[in-house]
């Protein structure tokens, strides 16, 4: 754990901050965007967890001691696939919500469903 990439760490912080802000929104599409940013932040964090960037970890190309850590890269690619799949599902859900209700606002059990629409322009 020597020198950490400061710009990457700051980027992760900004991604998490924007992601959590968007996750709090009522409109589902913004929530999806928030989830995307959140996921990107987590994936970059996985990458950063592997330490500083070094040559490709490929047997025969780089000596094992000099290569960068392949394990977090493997985890990041798995996480990328998972976030990609769930984003697709969420977008399908947003589409369905718009088809059904004409808007993509969150359910709120404090308001009866038809009355809730009155607040929106």
């Amino acid at each position: 754990m020597n020198a950490t990439n400061l710009s990457l760490a700051l980027t992760i912080g900004v991604l998490y901050a924007c992601g959590s802000y968007l996750l709090m929104q009522r409109a589902l599409l913004r929530v999806v965007l928030g989830f995307v940013l959140f996921g990107h932040g987590a994936n970059l964090l996985l990458l950063l967890a592997g330490g500083e960037a070094r040559p490709v970890p490929h047997a025969g190309t780089t000596a094992p001691g000099e290569a960068s850590d392949p394990l977090p890269q493997a985890m990041a690619i798995t996480a990328v696939v998972i976030t990609f799949g769930t984003t697709a599902l969420l977008l399908a859900l947003v589409h369905r919500a718009i088809v059904l209700h004409g808007d993509d606002l969150h359910a709120s059990h404090t308001l009866p469903p038809p009355a809730g629409k009155g607040d929106q322009p």
Binding site: M1, G19, L23, L28, V31, F35, F38, G39, G41, A42, L45, L46, L48, A49, G50, D69, L71, P72, M75, T78, A79, I82, T83, G85, T86, L89, L90, L93, R96, A97, L100, H101, H106, A107, H109, P113
Partner: protein, 511 residues
């Protein structure tokens, strides 16, 4: 036996792919699902026997050794939970086929119920067997991604609105868990649980506590621990009934398993953990009191589900072998009891076509067999002796008395109070269904009017329900062996060495 462990993940996953291709032929999908689930159950049961006889069964995927490669571990705890979970999956599968609503086509699109169900089972198996944190995350994600599809099945207006909330909260917790995994790797350079358990003692205490709390926070959100429970009673009741029963029985319980596994293995404790004790007490009270005031039967049961998560946390918070044994017995009991309750209530609701308790007065008065099932399920959930609920609570309370400190005894008092309140709620449900006043608009006793199912599908639904309900009696009858196995499992968890040695030790001696 080692070669059989990956089958539990691969089998359902391949079955899910084949089932998707079999979309136009629901009969083949049903047969495939039944075969895969029965096969998995048989493998899980044999793993339980093997793990109890000879210690944890470890599979190293592709022959990669422990810290670098992926390991699947079936020890006593995971094999026991796995066996019970698969048995419930199979029974609810039978109920879902009988009920048929999950298989309905929506606007020419064939239902994806069968492939998704098998993918869910694959996720559950993977989460339970995983030997490292990252694959635990992947297993939970496979399970939850399938649950997102199942909860919005048919995509009606209500399901989309409530399902969206469930999905967003689950995904938030998932990204939190992924962040935690990344931080574990950044701190220690490994995500293998057995490896972490030895390395973490060198980590500075503040960092260690931060990691522990992050893990607790993310898994507690998935397990619906108060104050992170709000999503559950709003979202679960909107799904088709058998799917609600499946979720209630398994999803939160898998998260509780993950909590037990990670907290005992990575952060062993000598004395009770005050934070978790407080959370357990709050969860019991808020869940059960919330259940007292609900009118919708499914919402009521969802609140009780939250409340009873508290009991499992209580045993974990005690941090003693007896406490963990109580937690494991409670976990096993609760998975069966919660599924049983949702299924019997669904059978009762079917007679009236309503989920509101006030409209269900006398719904089962003309059905003595169903009333009997409801009575057994309710008494079991209300922990009346001699049923399994009593055995589980007795084990927990004995562990609490053995510990005997003031904080533990206070939470034990809350546990007794919550148990009595649960019994009151159960009594209210049964009395309303059997003797309650029928709603004014409904003049003649209904019965067959709502019931559009054929005799065979009704028989399948009743049969599956009877099996799940009778689990409460079987577990109580087998309380001796169950206490022995769970006692050994709890012993393993507190000692930790069997798990560590099975994963890290004797490298190379395996095929």
């Amino acid at each position: 036996m080692n070669g059989a462990v990956p089958l539990l993940v691969l089998g359902p996953l391949l079955g899910s792919a084949v089932s998707l291709l079999l979309g136009p032929w629901p009969r083949l999908q049903r047969a495939l699902g039944a075969v895969v689930l029965t096969g998995s159950l048989a493998v899980a049961a044999s793993l339980l026997v093997a793990a109890d006889d000879t210690g944890p069964v470890v599979a190293r995927l592709s022959g990669w050794d422990a810290p670098a490669g992926i390991t699947l571990v079936a020890d006593r705890l995971s094999a026991l939970v796995l066996t019970i979970a698969l048995a419930i999956c199979l029974a609810i599968f039978g109920y879902a086929i009988g009920q048929g609503s999950a298989e309905d086509r929506v606007e020419h699109v064939p239902s994806v119920f069968h492939p998704t169900y098998l993918a869910l089972v694959a996720g559950i198996n993977m989460a339970l067997l995983s030997g490292d944190l990252f694959n635990l995350f992947v297993g939970l994600e496979v399970m939850l991604a399938s649950s997102y599809v199942l909860i919005t099945l048919g995509a009606t207006s209500e399901r989309v609105r409530l399902g969206a909330m469930y999905i967003v909260i689950s995904l938030g917790a998932s990204i939190g868990l992924l962040t935690t995994v990344a931080l574990f790797y950044a701190t220690t350079g490994t995500v293998n649980l057995a490896d972490l358990s030895t390395v973490l003692s060198d980590v500075p205490p503040p960092v260690r506590t931060a990691l522990q709390l992050m893990l607790l926070l993310t898994l507690a959100t998935k397990a619906a621990v108060v104050p992170l429970h709000m999503w559950l009673p709003d979202s679960y009741p909107s799904a088709p009934a058998p799917i609600t029963a499946l979720f209630a029985a398994l999803l939160t319980k898998i998260a509780v398993y993950a909590l037990i596994r990670t907290q005992t293995l990575l952060f062993p404790r000598e004395e009770p953990w005050l934070l978790l004790l407080v959370l357990a007490g709050a969860t019991m009270l808020v869940g059960v009191v919330g259940g007292l005031v609900q009118d919708d039967a499914n919402r009521l049961l969802s609140f009780l589900l939250v409340g009873h998560i508290g009991y499992m946390l209580f045993g974990l918070a005690l941090a003693s072998a007896e406490g963990l044994r109580g937690s494991i017995i409670y976990l096993v009991h609760h998975m069966t009891a919660q599924a049983a309750l949702f299924l019997v209530i669904d059978l009762a609701q079917r007679r009236r076509g309503s989920t509101s308790l006030s409209e269900l007065g006398r719904a089962t008065a003309a059905a003595p067999a169903l009333s009997g099932l409801i009575l057994i399920a309710a008494l079991n959930f209300g922990s009346v002796p001699p049923l399994a609920g009593f055995v589980a609570k007795l084990a927990l309370l004995q562990a609490a008395v053995t510990d005997g400190t003031a904080a533990v005894m206070a939470v034990a008092a809350v546990a007794v109070l919550a148990a009595l309140l649960t019994l009151a709620v159960m009594g209210r449900i049964f009395v309303q269904l059997y003797w309650g006043a029928p709603p004014a608009e409904l003049s003649e006793p209904d019965g067959d009017a709502i019931d559009v199912h054929s005799r065979t599908s009704m028989r399948l639904m009743r049969g599956s329900t009877t099996v799940v309900v009778s689990a409460g009696i079987v577990l109580a009858a087998a309380a001796g062996p169950l206490a022995a196995v769970t006692g050994r499992a709890a012993e393993d968890l507190t000692v930790r060495t069997p798990y560590q040695e099975a994963v890290l030790g004797d490298l190379g001696g395996l095929p």
